[in-house]
């Protein structure tokens, strides 16, 4: 039998027992002194005097005892008896329980007519009904992000019942380890001596993150440091957890062929189909643009072997600028997990990509100067479908007003900029613009290094030139190409860009936070990229004019420059197509005063109100995106009818329905009180009858004792003051 405390910190209050002593000493120091003559009548017999002193000391001790008892009672002491994992009665000890309900897509699989999710809800109702007054219960939904439904724990089980009636349907993935961390955090601040974490799950392996050993060690460590460490129970509310479903296909994230999409230009949408079922399966898929089926894009894929994958691709185009949501879904019958039968991507269509060209060595000749070829490559004369609009600007006239009209600026062989232009360029990049700086013989390296150090991807070195006819100082090395813009043009095989040659180059010394996207065959950096603020900058070590080499006449020159420019001016900054667990944020124009919330439609069809956080020029709407799918915000901006979209990818791991193996279970339950119950039957009784130790709380008798002592103290004080 041992003594423990639930609120150990309250034991500090025992120091309050010193208060009566301090008051006693203080009052003694401030004792009133009366000069008195009739001392002979004050004399009391020694016995009475001794009793007086004894009563005084007894009163002092009583007061100290009362203070100490109250402080000790507030510390919630308990007497613990019995052994670990005793199945005896838990005594009168109350318990705090956190239930983690797996709300991932796999919980929607029906077993004998009812889904595991619904069975779990029934089990929670049964469990909460069996709890006693004084027990507390919290409820967490485990999804890609943990969603607290009841937190902090409530003693009102009616709230639990109400919350259970309003749960969203299971969707997306689930990280149970993250939910356990949250449950441990909740139980850190509760007070009952018995604590339980109950996880209701279908025991899919991916949800438990079994292979992430570090996470499990972290869980054990967090629990080990807790004052009253909880027990963990995994309960499968179905008597038969079921085998892997015979049919389940899933669609992976969508890819879009163009970084910049303009109205009327064809765009290719591609993606991956997985078959995690046990039988080969042929699937029919269809493409939807903004919810409307594109009849011409429907296709059949397969058969796909069990555990196999296949790809699909479809072409489409958009007729107006703005946000559009592209959806690919299975057109045939739904399978075991309907929620991974569709995938979405938001694309932003712009009228055109505006590019400003600043040529440091301009020429009146066609294709002359540093950017003559670039201009023609980006915006061919007479092409009505061109996606890039270019405008040439003299370096001396470059300012913030001009930069505000474009998304990308290309500066070629510019010796230096004016002070205002340099500041405007840095501000342009920081606010999300893309800048490409192409070096040449005129470049004042010292000026660029000093004035543009904040964003320049590399330190500009010496100018190297082979003046001999046909002299070559380097060629692009396609095998070194990195990044989404260049990877497709590189690779280990033959690439036309590898045939290009440069007659001159600048040596580059990349900054620490810059990335080399391409190198020359000699190993020198050729294209270096660096992010700055919300924008990016590219630095090219060689020129792109006719004098600089053969790059402009290379067959891949046009796609090369298009890809670089499109990548720099890409409107898809990742804020609209999110990975599981990321927050959806809509940047919207500042709404009129008084508008504090806006309606956002979530993937499950609900409309939630999200708070508007006002900034300087824009306002931000944040949405807790715990479900995968499309989030839609209406009435913002004129483009696309004022509709804004964002998508959250489904966790592909959720489509893998592999169950926990016996080895997994042993590993999970090792070294801590984690019990996996295969059946929900009798689980309630077993959990409620369990107690690591039998605990008897002592605060009630201590408070009663303190009250009794207080009464004695009052009586003794009265006797001493009024006189016997």
């Amino acid at each position: 039998m041992s003594l423990g405390f639930l609120n150990l910190s309250m034991l500090i209050g025992i120091a309050g027992a010193a208060v009566p002593v301090v008051i006693h000493l203080f009052s003694k120091r401030r004792e009133q002194v009366v000069d008195w003559g009739a001392m002979q009548f004050l004399e009391v017999e020694e016995r009475r005097q001794r009793r007086f002193r004894f009563d005084e000391l007894l009163l002092l001790a009583l007061r100290m005892l009362v203070m100490g008892l109250v402080a000790a009672a507030l510390a919630r002491p308990f007497l613990a008896s019995g052994g670990a994992n005793s199945q005896a009665s838990a005594g009168d000890a109350r318990r705090d329980v956190v239930i983690i309900l797996d709300a991932s897509a796999s919980m929607s699989i029906p077993i004998e007519g009812r889904s595991l999710f619904d069975r779990s809800i029934d089990w929670i109702r049964e469990f909460s009904a069996a709890l006693r007054p004084g027990d507390s219960l919290a409820l967490l939904l485990a999804k890609d992000r943990v969603r607290p439904m009841i937190d902090p724990p409530t003693f009102d089980f009616g709230r639990i019942a109400a919350a259970l009636t309003d749960l969203p349907a299971p969707r997306g993935g689930c990280d149970l380890t993250a939910a356990i961390v949250e449950a441990l955090r909740i139980l850190e601040s509760t007070n009952n001596p018995e604590r339980e974490i109950i996880i209701l799950s279908d025991e899919t392996r991916s949800a438990w993150r079994v292979d992430e050993r570090a996470k499990w060690e972290l869980l054990r460590s967090i629990r080990g440091k807790q004052r009253a460490a909880p027990r963990l129970w995994s309960v499968s509310p179905s008597q038969s957890p079921g085998e892997s479903p015979a049919s389940n296909g899933s669609l992976g994230p969508l890819q879009v062929s163009r970084g910049v999409i303009v109205p009327g230009r064809e765009v290719r949408i591609s993606g991956e189909i997985s078959n995690s079922g046990s039988d080969p399966r042929t699937r029919s898929i269809e493409l939807l643009i903004d919810g409307e089926v594109d009849a011409g894009a429907t296709q059949v894929v397969g058969p796909i072997a069990p555990g196999g994958r296949s790809t699909f691709s479809a072409a489409t185009s958009f007729d107006r600028p703005g946000d559009h949501v592209v959806t690919v879904r299975f057109a045939d019958a739904a399978d075991s997990i309907p929620s991974d039968d569709e995938t979405h991507r938001v694309v932003t269509v712009v009228p055109a990509l505006e590019v400003i060209l600043v040529d440091g060595k301009p020429s009146a000749q066609p294709l002359g100067g540093e950017l003559g070829f670039v201009r023609v490559a980006l915006a061919p004369f007479g092409d009505p479908t061109r996606v890039v609009e270019v405008e040439s600007v003299d370096a001396a006239k470059l300012d913030s007003a001009i930069l505000s009209t474009c998304r990308v600026v290309i500066l070629a062989n510019v010796d230096r900029l004016g002070t205002d232009a340099a500041v405007a360029l840095e501000s342009f990049i920081a606010s999300g613009g893309g800048a490409m700086v192409i070096l040449g013989d005129r470049v004042d390296a010292e000026w660029w290094n000093e004035s543009s150090g904040a964003w320049l991807p590399a330190k500009i070195g010496e100018f190297v030139k082979d003046a001999s006819p046909g002299g070559v100082v380097g060629r692009p090395a396609p095998s070194s190409f990195r990044g989404p813009a260049l990877e497709a043009l590189g690779g280990s095989g033959q690439s036309p860009l590898g045939e290009a040659s440069f007659a001159s180059k600048r040596r580059l010394e990349p900054m620490p936070n810059a990335a080399v996207l391409a190198r020359l065959d000699g190993g020198d950096p050729w294209i270096v990229e660096r992010g700055h603020g919300r924008g990016r900058a590219l630095l090219l070590g060689s020129g792109v004019g006719a004098e600089a080499g053969t790059l402009p006449v290379n067959p891949d020159f046009v796609p090369w420059i298009h890809r670089l420019v499109a990548d720099l001016g890409s409107l898809d900054d990742g804020s609209k197509n999110l990975r599981p667990g990321e927050d959806v944020r809509f940047a919207i124009p500042v709404p009129p005063p008084g508008v504090e919330v806006v309606d956002v439609r979530t993937p499950d069809g609900r409309v939630i109100q999200s708070e508007v956080v006002r900034g300087g020029n824009t306002a931000l709407v944040s949405v807790d995106a715990s479900d995968p799918g499309v989030y839609r915000l209406d009435g913002q901006g004129a483009e696309s009818g004022g509709v804004r979209y964002a998508t959250v990818e489904a966790d592909p791991r959720e489509s893998n329905l592999e169950r926990l193996s016996a080895a997994d279970r042993i590993e999970m339950c090792k070294d801590w009180p984690f019990v996996i119950l295969d059946s929900g039957e009798n689980a309630v009784d077993r959990i409620l009858r369990s107690a690591t130790v039998r605990k008897h709380e002592l605060w009630r008798p201590m408070i009663l004792s303190a009250l009794a002592l207080l009464c004695v103290e009052i009586w003794m004080t009265r006797r001493a003051t009024v006189g016997s």
């Binding site: 009133q32 002194v33 000069d35 003559g37 009739a38 001392m39 002979q40």
Partner: protein, 280 residues
């Protein structure tokens, strides 16, 4: 040489009282020869002796008399009353002396009736300061031994002494045939003990001695002891035919004296003895 007080001792003086038949032992010079001529018998003339009252004001200046409380100190009240009595008696051509004491007799001024003697007494009273422990009974014994001629002894004291010793000393005075008036000077706090909060009571006669006192706890016991002491003192004084009067420091000196003189001229018992407090 002619005081206003009638002497209780008959003798031969200037004021004729009566004739008495001559007897052996009478001096021949006291024979009234004129009466012999008329009656042929020897008579001697007796005269009523008019003597000056020799009064001694005995002022207790022990530490306990320094207690003041909310009023003037008891010693201050004693000095005022002593000065008033001295003035009255000297005005009546009575001789007044003074004995002031604390641990021992500090001032001993023999009785005089000269008017300027009043200032001598006042000077001595002014010099009197409270201090020391009260050996009241010992001082009274000493006075009884030192004052040969019987007189009127006025004791101004709080009477805080062992009762039996004090009564013995007062009997000693009476034994020496002194007329005794005991003016007990008391402060209202001493009579009522109105204290509420616990305090440390420091002995005025011994500053090193003090005791913590919870007034509520001991009030009843204190008042019982205090009243018993006073009651016994009054009874003892009455038993030895001495006079007693209680004076409170809350009263003015003239009121205290007026009360005393009024009760004396009425010939009633001292007020204190009819005080209903004594019945409790």
């Amino acid at each position: 040489m002619s005081g206003l007080h009638r002497s209780p001792f008959k003798g031969f003086s200037v004021e004729f009282a009566e004739h008495r038949q001559y007897g052996p032992g009478d001096e021949i010079r006291h024979i009234d020869w004129r009466a012999f001529g008329k009656t042929d018998r020897f008579f001697v003339k007796e005269f009523e002796e008019e003597t000056n009252l020799k009064a001694y004001l005995v002022v207790d200046a022990s530490g306990s008399m320094g207690y003041a409380g909310a009023t003037e100190s008891k010693l201050e009240q004693a000095r005022r009353i002593a000065a008033c009595l001295a003035y009255l008696m000297i005005s009546q051509r009575d001789a007044v002396g003074l004995a002031a004491f604390d641990d021992e007799i500090r001032e001993m001024i023999p009785p005089r009736s000269a008017p300027r003697h009043f200032s001598v007494l006042c000077g001595a009273l002014e010099r009197t300061r409270p201090g020391g422990e009260t050996p009241l009974h010992r001082v009274i014994h000493g006075l009884a031994e030192r004052i040969d001629r019987r007189g009127f002894i006025v004791i101004l004291s709080d009477g805080f002494d062992r009762l039996d010793s004090l009564v013995d000393s007062l009997r000693h005075l009476r034994h020496r045939r002194h007329e005794v008036l005991f003016l007990q000077i008391l402060a209202p706090e001493e009579e009522e003990f109105p204290f509420e909060r616990p305090a440390r009571f420091r002995n005025l006669e011994d500053s090193a001695s003090s005791r913590p006192v919870h007034p509520r706890a001991i009030r009843e016991s204190y008042l019982r002891r205090f009243r018993a002491h006073r009651s016994a003192l009054v009874e003892a004084l009455r038993g030895m035919n001495a006079d007693y009067h209680r004076v409170s420091t809350s009263d003015s000196a003239e009121k205290a004296l007026f009360d005393y003189l009024a009760s004396r001229s009425r010939g009633v018992r001292p007020r204190a003895m009819t005080d209903p407090e004594f019945d409790s």
